[in-house]
């Protein structure tokens, strides 16, 4: 087999238009594919971010009350509901809350270390929970203690948030007190000072959207039941293997106990896998869209290469015959077209790499995206070079089958 880079480059200079168009198609495809792969990876990484919960065994109930009631009446009904749920045989524990991780919305607050501070030290997601909150969610207490039952109080939505004690996540504790001694320290919520009594390992915030990214794992658990006449959420942890049965039994038991409520058929009861799936619907959709764009672009580029090479093979049939007559083997001809494509692809990937970085810089400034890792550029380069070689193989093999006697045939 003979390497013929110089004459191939000479020949390509005589076919500038086709060469330029294919190289630019490869460049554009590389630039888009690199960035698309990067976005896909980021979305997929986002999809698998942990909440800290015992997700396989958790479901949530959205309960809406019918009719008006005072905060005290609502709180009483909530406590009765929680007792009903905890009494179910398939249920390990249950807790009322204002929200749960990945719900999409909830309560967040600014945390200060000193009352006179103008700027918050950190943002944080605020979870209302009782002394069963930690056990129900399956999160791990890594320092301090849990709430005591006597510390749990009811709170109206119009009340100031000023619990005497709170439990915070390790991420928030590390942010507020980098030396690791958060337990016993005082912090300031919007309603006033409070003392950290415990630290949990991990508890994701309610939203995975960009606005909550700054405090994704900085959460505060307050010892409160939020009594709203419209209703609220119950978080339930089923015993292992009994999730489905517990999800069927829960609404039945709640309605039997008090039928004056609404639990929506569609999303009134959701397993946590459904919660996760809904939370990341947009990310998944974006990843799929980017994947489809990549496949379509790669297919178009491959088709372009096949088309152009097939055209060139047809156009150079006599020339191939002459080369065969002058001593080229079939492998030489195959190698010629593969090398020709490789050289065009190399030109394309060089331009494409620059274009990929430029597009990424534009996305970074416009959409606060992360800087493109060179790994994705390299992956894109390899994909495009392999695609080119794969696409050119069939027409190149067709070229290699042109017989030497073609040289003697008149066109």
């Amino acid at each position: 087999m003979t390497v013929q880079i110089k004459p191939i480059l000479s020949a390509l200079r005589r076919h500038k238009a086709g060469t330029f168009l294919i190289a630019m198609q490869i460049a554009l495809t590389l630039a888009i594919v690199c960035n698309a792969l990067f976005i896909i990876q980021q979305r997929l990484a986002h999809l698998s971010e942990p909440t800290g919960l015992d997700e396989p065994n958790i479901f949530v109930v959205q309960n809406e009350w019918v009719g008006q009631a005072t905060a005290e009446q609502v709180d009483a009904k909530m406590r009765e509901d929680i007792s009903v749920l905890r009494a179910l045989p398939g249920v390990q524990d249950a807790t009322p809350s204002n929200s749960y991780p990945l719900r999409g919305g909830g309560w967040d607050d600014g945390i200060k270390l000193k009352p006179e501070q103008l700027q918050d030290t950190s943002g944080a997601a605020i979870y209302f929970g009782d002394d069963h909150f930690i056990d129900t969610l399956g999160i791990k207490l890594v320092a301090g203690r849990n709430f005591r039952s006597e510390e749990i109080t009811s709170m109206n939505v119009r009340d100031r948030l000023s619990p005497p004690v709170v439990i915070v996540t390790k991420a928030l504790a590390n942010k507020l007190f980098p030396s690791g001694d958060a337990v016993g320290k005082t912090i300031y919520l919007v309603g006033g000072p409070t003392t950290i009594i415990g630290v949990v390992e991990l508890l994701q915030s309610q939203s995975v959207d960009r606005w909550a990214a700054g405090f994704a794992y900085r959460s505060v658990i307050v010892p409160k039941r939020l009594a709203i006449s419209l209703g609220g959420w119950y978080i339930v942890r089923a015993r292992p293997g009994q999730l489905d049965a517990a999800m069927r039994a829960a609404p039945k038991a709640l309605f039997e106990h008090n039928p004056r409520r609404v639990i929506n058929d569609e999303d009134g009861i959701l397993s946590f896998s459904q919660v996760r799936s809904r939370a990341y619907e947009r990310d998944r959709g974006m990843a799929i869209l980017m994947g489809v764009i990549c496949v379509v672009l790669l297919a178009i580029t491959a088709a372009g290469i096949v088309g152009l090479t097939s055209f060139w093979v047809g156009q150079r049939r006599k020339q191939i015959g002459v080369r065969r007559a002058l001593g080229a083997t079939r492998q030489d001809i195959l190698h010629y077209f593969m090398t020709e494509n490789f050289l065009i692809s190399c030109g394309g990937v060089v331009v494409g790499t620059l274009l990929a970085v430029a597009i990424n810089l534009w996305l970074v400034t416009r959409f606060e995206m992360h800087r493109l890792s060179l790994v994705y550029v390299l992956a894109g380069v390899v994909i495009l070079l392999l695609l080119g070689q794969g696409a050119v193989l069939a027409p190149a093999m067709r070229a290699s089958r042109v017989p030497p006697v073609e040289a003697t045939r008149s066109v």
Partner: protein, 240 residues
């Protein structure tokens, strides 16, 4: 040098078999200049394509430089074409995308020759055909006669044992044809074996020996008196 014995070439379709060559016998000695003549469709070009290993044959034997070629595989045939045979085609068959230098270089690259040796051979061959100054020109920038000289340089650069020429002056005007023919004669005088297919009695007369083909077989020139007469007249009028 070239010996075909009872050679046949049959083109088969579903309904008909056509003999392009039938019981074809020829022996060309080393250093000979043989003109192969015959009417259109007689099998001249088929003979040349088989002689140049561009095509396989159906039956018989073909020895080229002492090697029986019928059992060679495609790569072995390519190697022999590259190393032992130089082709000169009627339509020149230069590669239009390559300049003169690169065109002459094509067979040398397939031989795997190193760059300095390639360069020496190319420049020597181009000087021999008087086109060293046109090395960077593309075929489209040359006249027909110059293109054929480049094709001859390409054939000579590899120092082949056998030169096969298929109507080498067929696409040239009289003056250019004369120049090309003189070049072939000069190459022959330097010891090359040349087999030239032509239908032109005047060119055939300038070869050492004529082989006449009719209906795929070598025949005695006497069997085609008109051609015999034309060749005889051409020889008589030839200055040398």
């Amino acid at each position: 040098m070239l010996k075909m014995t009872h050679l046949s070439k049959v083109y088969r379709t579903e309904v008909v078999e056509t003999y392009a060559l039938r019981d074809f016998n020829i022996n060309v000695n080393e250093g000979e200049f043989v003109a192969v003549t015959g009417p259109s469709g007689s099998g001249k070009t088929t003979f040349l394509t088989i002689a140049g290993l561009l095509e396989t044959f159906t039956g018989g034997q073909y020895h080229l430089d002492g090697v029986e070629v019928s059992n060679l595989n495609d790569n072995e045939r390519s190697k022999i074409r590259n190393e032992k045979i130089g082709f000169i085609f009627q339509a020149f068959n230069l590669i239009p995308d390559l300049n003169v230098y690169d065109n002459v270089e094509v067979p040398l690259r397939y031989r795997g020759m190193k760059s300095p040796e390639r360069k020496d051979r190319i420049m020597n061959a181009l000087e021999r055909v008087g086109l060293a100054s046109r090395a960077k020109h593309y075929p489209a920038e040359l006249s027909g006669g110059q293109q054929q000289r480049v094709a001859i340089a390409r054939a000579l650069a590899g120092s082949p044992r056998l030169l096969l020429a298929d109507e080498p002056t067929g696409n040239l005007d009289t003056q250019m044809a004369r120049g090309v023919m003189e070049l072939l004669e000069e190459i022959h005088r330097e010891g090359a074996t040349i087999v030239m297919v032509t239908h032109d009695p005047e060119l055939a007369a300038r070869a050492q020996r004529n082989v006449h083909i009719i209906d795929g077989q070598v025949v005695d020139l006497a069997e085609d008196p008109r051609f015999h007469h034309a060749v005889h007249s051409a020889r008589a009028n030839s200055p040398a």
